[in-house]
């Protein structure tokens, strides 16, 4: 058995796995239902849309619709994409704060954010 699995391997793998599992659980607990999505295109904010209202948003680049985002029952789902791999369309809908849908070829990022009024506003209030 020693040729396959040493003591060092066991320690290293166990520690790394424990850290990863902890990180996954930690981030899973931190997730809360988001309030709005920020759509960005080419690294710049394109639109901010609340999750409460059901609607369909067309993301346009130079007048051509490249992605269609569907908001329904507080969840955002990518409906259409002009890119070849369609990874973002196959992805599950997102609704929790911090989650995102990325369409890499079109450089479109849809991010779910917490309260519509950020921390800065709540402090100022």
């Amino acid at each position: 058995m020693n040729r396959r699995f040493g003591k060092t391997d066991f320690i290293v793998l166990a520690v790394v796995f424990a850290v990863l599992v902890f990180a996954v659980i930690f981030t899973a607990f931190k997730r809360k239902q988001g309030e709005f999505v920020v759509i960005s295109l080419d690294g710049e904010v394109y639109r901010e849309v609340p999750l409460e209202k059901d609607q369909e948003i067309e993301i346009k680049k130079e007048g051509i619709t490249i992605n269609v985002l569907d908001i329904r029952e507080g969840k955002a789902d990518m409906r259409k994409a002009s890119c070849p791999d369609k990874l973002c369309v196959r992805q599950k809908p997102v609704s929790k704060s911090g989650e995102s849908i990325v369409c890499l070829p079109n450089k479109v990022v849809v991010e779910v954010k917490g309260e519509a009024k950020g921390d800065f506003d709540s402090i100022a209030r």
């Binding site: 396959r4 040493g6 290293v12 793998l13 890119c83």
Partner: protein
């Protein structure tokens, strides 16, 4: 040298077949970027039998060819950054000679996903997607672990004949 060229061609073909098989398996978790990493068997195998240079060469050529055959320019960009980082991690860990194939392969799997995610963050100019790091790294760990066990068995059984 001639013998090596023929061998490397064969391994490249094997790696490409692994890519093809992988593209046929509907292995999907709802998060983009999670893959089995079957081709890593070939890379690990080469790293342990023929040498680092050969393994790196096959890995890079495989990524470019597979990108043209089954993917798109973006998947090449993605995979190259993942592949390079993964190879570097495996090479360094192997050089320490303190760890077995399984651990080296796990490092490869984890670093592959890290490289891809970093590249994705750079391309879309949005660093919040790094939020997915824990899930992606855990996925890389698990797939790397099984790929490592497979590679270990192959190396132990036929490694000296390669």
């Amino acid at each position: 040298m001639k013998r090596n060229v023929a061998y490397l061609g064969m391994y490249l073909a094997l790696a490409l077949i692994c890519s093809y098989v992988e593209s046929l398996i509907p292995f999907y978790f709802g998060i983009p970027g999670v893959k089995l990493g079957l081709t890593n068997i070939v890379v690990v195998l080469l790293l342990y039998t023929l040498g680092a240079k050969e393994a790196f060469l096959v890995s890079v050529v495989r990524i470019i060819l597979a990108g043209f055959l089954f993917g798109n320019p973006f998947s090449i960009l993605y995979s190259l950054s993942g592949g390079a980082l993964s190879f570097l991690a495996m090479y360094v860990l192997k050089r320490t000679e303190k760890l077995k194939v399984v651990t080296v392969s796990v490092a490869g799997g984890v670093m592959h996903n890290t490289g891809q995610l970093i590249m994705a963050a750079l391309v879309v100019e949005n660093y919040h997607i790094l939020y997915y790091i824990p899930v992606l790294l855990t996925a890389g760990f698990i797939t790397g672990f099984f790929i490592g066990i497979l590679s270990q068995e192959i190396i132990l059984r036929i490694g000296n004949r390669i």
